[in-house]
């Protein structure tokens, strides 16, 4: 089994990454601030104006360390990729399944069902833990949404086409994000959630969600690449140049578990406050540079949480789940598994 390797985040403006022997060295203004052996790294994520030496890029590509460059707000810009590797037969099979609506439907159904079920699990957990201290409207709202999500999950299993499944996914998102505000147990207007908004996020909650989704996306992409799948050719998400469709497909199941839960924890435990955001003219709300650290730390901590994988029945860390799911997806595409067993969180 693959080890859950660490990810390094570089957020300092003007930092420079270089290779020294088998080390990754981080320098700021010619002063060394970090040095990490390459074999312990699974990925490097650079935010904003961060430079990297070509020898290090080459070494990372060779060692299978995924390198992503993002804007300071977490929007994906570029990645460093080595020579095309992996299994051609597997990739060909992936393209054929993507072109075959019936074969793709099996996967899409599994993904959407699991995403909806996991969204429901998030709501149900909140009801179980804090239901008694909630206002009547909040409890009723969550309970209603939870029921609707259950209905949708059941209907997705019978969806006759990918488009129908996409429609169900939209219904689920409406129900879930419609009730998301009730999960925030903090009486601060800054953290009110008024529906999902992105490009740009229009409130603090959305800014956090968008940022963490970018992080989960990076992890899913590396996971797919390491099993030899093409992260761009998805089943649920249509092809679009420059979009990692399959990475987006894969991350659907983890959004509620890996990102949404972390956002709620950060807000409800007051680990992040109104001062951690910049409020732009025109309504955009962005996470401040220096506040990113707290969010990344919470995300890395979350990835260390141990769970029992429902399909493998093995204890694994949450951070490893994208890798396991990518492997299961590859096995299904190869024909070793009849269906794709999605990740269900309890």
């Amino acid at each position: 089994m693959r080890q859950h390797l660490n990810t390094m985040f570089v957020t300092t403006e003007g930092a420079w990454l270089a290779k020294d022997g088998a080390n990754i060295v981080v320098e700021v203004e010619r002063r060394e601030i970090g040095r990490v052996p390459m074999h312990m790294m699974g990925g490097i994520v650079c935010f904003g104006r961060v430079g990297m030496s070509p020898p290090l890029m080459g070494a990372c590509a060779e060692a299978g360390v995924t390198v992503s460059f993002l804007t300071e707000h977490g929007k994906f810009l570029a990645r460093v990729e080595g020579p095309c590797s992996g299994n051609v037969l597997l990739r060909r099979r992936q393209y054929r399944v993507a072109d075959d609506p019936d074969a793709g439907l099996v996967i899409v159904r599994a993904i959407v069902t699991a995403k909806t079920a996991n969204q429901r699990a998030v709501l149900r957990r909140a009801l179980r833990d804090h239901g008694s201290s909630m206002a009547e409207t909040g409890r009723a709202g969550l309970d209603d949404a939870q029921r609707r999500l259950g209905d949708v999950a059941r209907r997705v299993i019978e969806a006759g086409s990918i488009d129908v499944a996409r429609g169900h996914e939209g219904d689920a998102a409406n129900a879930y994000f419609g009730a998301f505000d009730h999960l925030i147990r903090r009486d601060d207007d800054v953290f009110r959630f008024r529906g999902r908004s992105r490009r740009p996020p229009l409130d603090a909650c959305n800014a956090l969600l968008s940022f963490l989704y970018a992080m989960v996306g990076h992890d899913c992409r590396s996971a797919l690449e390491s099993v030899g799948l093409d992260p761009q050719v998805g089943f649920l998400h249509r092809d679009r140049p420059g979009r990692a469709g399959l990475a987006l497909d894969l991350m659907e199941e983890f959004r509620p578990v890996l990102a949404d839960r972390v956002v709620l924890t950060l807000i409800n435990r007051q680990q992040i406050g109104p001062k951690d955001f910049t409020y732009m003219e025109g309504g955009a709300v962005l996470l401040r540079d220096d506040s990113r650290k707290a969010v990344l730390a919470a995300y890395q901590e979350r990835k260390k949480d141990e769970i029992t994988h429902p399909f493998l029945n093995e204890k694994v860390s949450l951070g490893l789940v994208p890798h396991i799911q990518a492997q299961l997806l590859a096995r299904h595409l190869r024909g070793d598994l009849d269906g794709y067993p999605p990740f269900l969180w309890k």
Binding site: N6, F9, G21, A22, R35, V36, P37, M40, Q300
Partner: protein, 96 residues
């Protein structure tokens, strides 16, 4: 598994100083320098074999010494640090 590696390399002549540099470099490729001649290396068994072979190839057995301490997988509980030069937790959150 975590390995603690310490060494003494005789540096009386130029060849000795060269061996010292090369031993330090081998350790640094696999781990973290926690004190001048003390390294903590988180390696799997295959990497350990490679590192050990490389170190044994560098030293002069008649004048230099190497000590390897196997701290195992649960190493963090067995290490206590006091004073300056805090080590970086390479498995923890790395944000620079």
């Amino acid at each position: 598994m975590l390995m603690l590696i310490t060494y003494d390399v005789n540096t009386q002549d130029a060849a000795g100083r060269r061996r010292l540099r090369r031993v330090a470099k081998a350790c640094r490729d696999f781990g973290q320098r926690v004190q001048f001649s003390v390294f903590e290396c988180e390696v799997d068994p295959a990497q350990w074999t490679a590192l050990r072979a490389r170190l044994l190839g560098e030293i002069d057995q008649s004048t230099d010494s190497l000590r390897f301490y196997h701290l195992g997988a649960n190493a963090s509980r067995r290490i206590e640090h006091a004073g300056a030069k805090p080590a970086l937790d390479l498995d923890g959150t790395l944000v620079f």
